[in-house]
Assembly symmetry: T
Homo-oligomer: 145 residues x 12
């Protein structure tokens, strides 16, 4: 049994309420509940957090050291701007999967750059809220290796 | 009657106390008071906030959804770095005017890039504290369309 | 009492007749009349001209030396191409505000470069014909400093 | 029956007299006469102009609004420098074909950029004076759709 | 019931035999068998092909028009070079997921550019052969929308 | 009498069946038949081929040496990627016109680069299937020089 | 006697516990104690803070105005991303030395850009925790000028 | 005896009246008189013109064909923007020297690009009004070869 | 005794028949015969192939695994475009020397980029057909280490 | 006891005599004497040299192999241009600290690139002549590890 | 009476013996003699040197401090590579004119960058050996200001 | 019989003593002896030199004019920085082969640029000391043409 942590970055608390054409109608609570349930079925511990504050995400990643085996991370806008979060992940060396709900490759040019993809175990983008479930499944698989 | 929100980003609390050759001697409180008075004359509600924290600005923009009709925004240094604030504004879809007190085009090269100009209703730059009043006036005009 | 000159560059004579989704329905004559009236109220002299010819604009700026206290300038397409007009403004050293009716930041990439912004007293963009009135007001304010 | 306008930009009045290895021996008058004749055969009205002055071209395009159905345009050197002419064409929204006598892709690097190609109905380059006739034929075809 | 097509590009026939540190020990046949089985469980038709020839991939995508509901595509090296395959996918307009076994973001700079990501329904990268199963699952989900 | 060869690159076999808003409803067979007829009227021999395989196009160009006087070439997606086809054309030194049905300048950025334009006798772009006929006419003209 | 302030940015609280090959085994508390002792020997007041939050750093710099004579700053990841912190330092105009424990020039490309170096009194990089002591010594020296 | 033509571009009519720190106190009339006198001494014919209009310069260069042996050209701001003037000079193939009064290399970045230097017989920059006399002398020398 | 494979890419079958100023008069058959003879003298097995098809080259490299000790590779135009061939070589991990007959550094800018040089044992360019013999000799030398 | 070598590059012999606002009033002899004294206190051997000749610096670094334990290097202008000196340092593999007296980040753009920083043990910049003493101290510290 | 120093950089000793199509038939000794004579006529002292060694040029410039009033400098290839020579000139602050015999703008791209033009009193390029005499004349003129 | 000159640039005197993983264990003397012997066998005269000083290399190339028929050149670090050496080679117009012992394409980015490749007869890179022998052989071959 492993411990899995779901982290969502800025504005993902708006999920299901804003820009549904980009992000769908599922709320963040829906996703967190689905993942908690799925983690339970897979026999894993689960925790989750969301914040609009970079420092909260950095703090949470730091605290995860020694307690968390895998992180599912949607950095939101910090994908393109947060070296601090990258450094926190490098610091704790916990494997993670980078998730994006919308297809970041089909949007503004600046969204094509990620501070996380090259250090992630994998990347899942554009598949909507389902992407989180796929990432959970992939994490479960990777934890068995 | 509409509701107008004034948001100022990092270091704008220093206004009137630091670097007067760039930003003038008017304080942020002066500006907020002038705008509150002017909003009253125009028959609009008015609220304002300033923060050095990106997350506070993101939170405030998110909370504005459904309550605010127009935002007057001086993102300060976040002009050039905050995709999170851009995403919050895209998320709530409240029209806003981007304001800069100094002429950002006459300063460092990196200040020429803005994450807000292309999604703003308009941009006013370099006109000092008066720029806020002009933006209020423009907002009033746009709200009548 | 100061003397204010309004200069409009190429294709702005089409205002109100073409591409209304970008530029609105107000004609250039409307704008010139509004500004003349407003200048009168503020106690300023007012003159205006529009031309599709770069040389006419350069000539007019040169002639303004010694007669004009402030220029309101919408360079139109010359914003992105006319070093000659920039040089004329540098030569006469009359303060000016750069005005754009549409949001140049939300259009083609090449419209993001301006030969005027870094030497302007200020920039107002995207606020439609009202931008001219705001610029007049800002000029009036700056002339009192 | 439609009305077709041929516009030639700077230095094309030199055609047939200068740099024949690049532009051939046919004069501009030859081309204009050939196109007038061909337009007649096709049952179209025809007008033409050439100028070395950007403003003349802008003015002529503006005046074409409501009178001209199709423009055949060789912008000459303005291909690479005139946003004003581009804006005039966008303003009047008359379909046009961009013509180049020489192969601009085989010359200086800066000649590869065009302010017109992305808004043209089509582009014909490198085929000599015959390119004008082909453009006339294409215009006739497009006007029948 | 839908019809799902798995397409693998150049060198993926080497899977499981070469560079296991990058691509793992699973063979392409293993993957194809797993996906066929999984498609069967989900009630979908399944077909697959691999080729080192760009034209074979283009042909196969063209033939898929009218017969295939979803494509699972690992373009291999063509990710970074094949506009022809991109055009074929645009031509038939069949939704597809782009899959990469290794983390292309952690390798050579040129592997960060993809001709497919911006037109894909989604992208899964770096998760090894399991990525194919996740893509199948995602396709099943998307086909139900 | 000359011998003219029409070569069409990848996905042009889809013409008339896919993406009609970009490429029109005319099929490739229609075009080939029109050109064969027109070549006959002009007294020229005519041959044509289409392939999705770069090597087929290279082979065909190589075989044309000594048999073909002019090539009409729509390289399709290979416009932007095939140095091999460029080298074949340089090798056999047969003059050719580059044809594009849609306006490649109005599409994705990467479609603005061509490996053929600087070595072509001319370029015709954006004029639909008619572009082929214009190219035939231009070839006929050039062959008479 | 002067007042010296040590500021450490995000993830520097991990010092001595994570990635020792990059940052060494000394903890941040060790460093702060060493510098406090050294400041005492030199007859200077000393204060220190560390935060993962950009706003905390900005606030602390703002509060330093009028109280602090010199800042020793390791901006951590904010070196490459925080214009807000740069603006705070420009605002209070307190001289500072930029310190990096590891050699930022030998790591990822993006770590070569600093928003602080051009406005710093000096830069010390790559010399490990000792770099802080050297910076203290340099500050002491500069304060005597 | 040869015929020498002096051409000055936009804003050079301001010489001696504006921005003396960049351009000195000598007027354009002074320069023209000095050069006329010097040409007389050297036994050359002399003509001169200045215009703020690109088309006037293009026209004048075109008219020079067959009448002028050497051009002394200060293109002013057109140095950086006028392909039309370049084309006119290429068209008439009259040798010319490019002159700049101020040191264009020590000013804005965009002033470092010239559309004339690579086709000029020579370039003289930064030497003030004397540069014209040096150019006259150089022309005289070159005409004797 | 080792086994050496000579691979030539697109258009190298034209050797000796086309563009002799770039590639010389020796035919590919001449080269292959020379190398076979030389391999025999050195006691090595020898095989060779040429193809205009990228997939053929990829296939041949894949098949070489376990049978070939060294590859002599002239990728022709694929030097600049084929990631697939690069991947095949990385996949089979057979050492190879990259050969170019002409000096690719003295031709078009795009020929300066190679997908092979950084993974090759060595590069020989510009020395004509003799380059193949030198590469054979170098391979013989390297195989003895 | 270790052996420390101080190397100063071109124009550092001017120290204290030229451009004091950039480099201060201390002469190079002062610095060398201070460092010799300090090395003595620390129990290290010391040698120093300065040259305006790149080859002298390269030769001196080569000769240091086997005799010198640490190099203190101010490459002066060679910072930005000398790959040869970089190669010499790579060749002898003696650890070194890169020193700059002035803040190279606050000067011309080209001074931001260093051929040494990424292979240095550390970098000290902008702290004036004191930077040498700090580097000596750091070297002493590093030699004890 | 002033003291003028002529400095010529690498390979200028070849003048008149090599590449006459670029540099003419005049030897460096011819030029030096002509300038010495001309300096005498103008009542100035004159000295000259040429070296292929960057350090020699740097040394000579350093020694000129206090003895030389003006430098005529043809840096040859060092124009594009020598920051050390630039720094020497900045250090001694002697005004200088940069001279190039051939038109560096009409040659390789890398010859368009100069480390000297922005700090030179003026630049004379492309006018052959005569350029030195013009520079002498200009120096004489500037020394009289 | 021809005269062949071997020139080695900076740090190549370290060959065989430093960084053997990059450059092998053969010394420069070994190489020079091997090449002298080989030249003798081929009936050619042979001379060689190595220097860390750019000026020495330039001087040696200049002196070779009229005495040397072919140069074998390993410019070492000057490959990427010496326009002066390039100019010397252009000046004497002696054909040369550029040799690199290590694979410069597999090292730092800046090593991919060469000031020599585009003017060399050929380039041999990455093949170790043997590369010199291959170059000698190639030179012998080219001298027979």
């Amino acid at each position: 049994m492993a411990s899995i942590l779901l982290i969502n970055g800025p504005n993902l608390n708006l999920l299901g309420t804003r820009e549904p054409e980009l992000y769908g109608a599922t709320t963040l609570a829906d996703i967190e509940n689905q993942l908690r349930a799925r983690a339970g079925e897979l026999g894993h511990g689960f925790d989750c957090m969301q914040s609009n504050a970079e420092a909260d995400l950095v703090d949470r990643v730091q605290q995860a050291a020694g307690h968390t085996d895998f992180i599912l991370l949607n950095p939101g806008a910090f994908t393109h701007t947060s070296v601090a979060l990258r450094d926190a992940l490098l610091g704790v060396a916990i494997p993670f999967i980078e998730i994006h709900i919308s297809n970041i490759h089909a949007r503004e040019e600046f969204r094509r750059q990620s501070y996380f993809s090259d250090i992630a175990a994998g990347v899942i983008a554009g598949l909507g809220p389902q992407g989180y479930l796929l990432a959970m499944q992939a994490a479960d698989h990777l934890l068995q290796d």
